[in-house]
Symmetry: C2
Subunit: 358 residues, 2 copies
């Protein structure tokens, strides 16, 4: 529960940016570290406003409310709401409507996590027991349903013409991506097309939505909205590719997630996809890990074989390179966005994403 | 799979009304039987229109689509869509917007069933294996999520001001009722207030929504819409009370559901609530049945004890009496509705509801 206490003291976005800043310092990137620091100051009152509206999500005694708040109270990174805020600030600012949309994107994200944890039988999330282990699978399913409805109520409250339709389409895309991931689960499917469809749907689509929604609430014109939506898509892709890398190289104390967790759940990650393409013989080791029962430790021999192949095939290195490409493409999407601190902030976020360690 | 085949040939609503007509004939109610026959003719082209729109729900290869259509294809009774149609016909008719709403109410209903079956570990539904037993729990969860989104898209497409907000509020009410049922599950909770909150939320609220939505699409004024919504609420209550009775007296060949199924899942039904109030000693037998593993048959001694107490305490009889009261109250809600075949049809539905055997 230490994570929950820590995030209560320091806002999650702030913890994330601060930690990213330290990483950049350590890597000899003082310029980026300085810009992250500026970003933190620039956005702090907006994010405090977001936290205030997030705190208005009803908190009743029912097991549904308690399951949902169990997860929400663990904080997360609040990166998606930050996208909404940054996009809105490019226009008329992060006003009440945009704040509702920032809460909506966070609730949609948490709704999918509540359902995912039931599906994956996940035991820990954000360094704490999952809602399903505390309140049961049934409560976690209903809590996900509830947060989805709460999110949609907030999209409605923001009164942006056409935005609810876009929200429904995005959620549908997310569900289809989750379904594709589910169908491929445990199959060690090294099909590139499937991999990118899953990542676009389950991760990038919601970043895209957040940027679009913030831009709409900020009163930006349709061209800029779409540019920002594309930025969000590319940023989300970079974000997921880094997540994939962290499954093999992360510090579980920092990420709050065990190493090889995606692999054990039979979820294809990009480094593995590259390793399979370049050294198909590794399939057997991967399949053996996927076949392990959740409580069985991974034999050291298998761990070292997979890590060695990821190294010799440059799987991890090239995944990180693709994440950087994606972040660069995100920045290219900002060409039509007027120069200024708003655009600078987005550039900073995209550049820093590839350095995150949680 | 015989049920699936049968419902493919005869539309579900038609099968239901025909069967209700036969029951009424058998019970010496030729008048009501005749009116049911008239209702069937009166609504047949509308319900065919509904089936056409229902058939447009996308049918892809994904496991989500297949799970959802597994359930949808088994038909159900289509009573909720019929409510939408009947309400719309009181106004300008069952046009394209109203048809979308009729599909929406059916999709919301099916979405809850897909999640419920995962939560209750249900193996059969509508006389066939549940989607979760065929495609797995995960697919069933995502299929429920998907149908909910599809339903909301249709509510949006119907373009009725304020209706989406009402839909979200209704779904939230359903989730909270399911949560309350979940919290009380297996506890043999004989608290009247909880029982009625669960029934109102999980069953009656969606009937209420269907009547309101149909009335709105039919262009009826707000007073009539609200009267029809109240009618729907009372009808839904009567519907659920009959469902409760069928858990003890139903023919599982007809209902598609095993006897004592609700009881085994630890769900409180009204006959049991009455039995517990009037003969508290029956609690032990009830708890023993709830405690059985799903594959354990109920010992004959327990079955006969519960049935005997339900008889001696008039639990089943008084549940049916309350269903009839509720149906009568539904009809009283129609006082402000102009006389004519539309109103007659609603009276027929309310009167016949208490005779249903499936």
């Amino acid at each position: 529960m230490s994570t929950a206490t820590a995030t209560a003291a320091v806002p999650p976005y702030s913890e994330l940016l601060g930690q990213l800043g330290s990483v950049c310092e350590d890597r000899g990137l003082p310029g980026l570290a300085g810009r992250l620091h500026d970003l933190q100051s620039w956005i702090s009152s907006d994010m405090a406003g977001f936290e205030e509206v997030l705190a208005t999500v009803p908190r009743g005694a029912s097991v549904v409310h308690r399951s949902a708040h169990h997860l929400l109270d663990l904080g997360g990174k609040h990166l998606r709401p930050m996208c909404v805020a940054l996009a809105a600030k490019l226009g008329s600012g992060f006003g009440p409507g945009a704040r509702q949309l920032a809460v909506a994107v966070e609730l949609i994200h948490n709704a999918t996590l509540l359902h995912d944890d039931v599906i994956d039988l996940g035991d820990t999330r954000r360094g704490a027991p999952t809602a399903r282990t505390v309140y049961g699978n049934a409560a976690s399913i209903f809590a996900g349903d509830w947060l989805l409805i709460e999110a949609l109520k907030r999209v409605q409250a923001a009164k942006q013409p056409g935005l609810l339709d876009r929200t429904l389409a995005t959620i549908e895309e997310m569900i289809q991506a989750e379904a594709l991931q589910l169908e491929n689960r445990g199959r060690v499917n090294g099909v590139r097309e499937d991999y990118f469809r899953v990542v676009e749907g389950k991760t990038a689509a919601l970043f895209r939505w957040g940027m679009y929604a913030g831009a709409a609430a900020g009163g930006l014109d349709e061209t800029v909205r779409e540019s920002l939506a594309s930025f969000g898509m590319k940023l989300g892709m970079a974000f997921q590719l880094v997540d994939d890398v962290l499954d093999f190289t992360g510090n579980s104390q920092v990420t709050g997630k065990a190493l090889f967790a995606d692999l054990r759940e039979g979820k294809m990650t990009y480094p593995l996809l590259l390793a399979l393409e370049r050294q198909p013989g590794v399939r057997k080791a991967i399949e053996s890990i996927v076949a392990l029962a959740p409580d069985q430790p991974i034999p050291d021999l298998l761990t070292s074989e997979v890590l060695q192949v990821l190294d010799s095939t440059n799987g991890v290195r090239d995944c990180m390179a693709l994440a950087k490409d994606s972040a660069r493409e995100a920045i290219e999407c900002l060409a039509s966005v007027p120069e200024g601190s708003g655009r600078d902030a987005l550039v900073t976020v995209a550049e820093a994403t590839v350095y995150r360690e949680k």
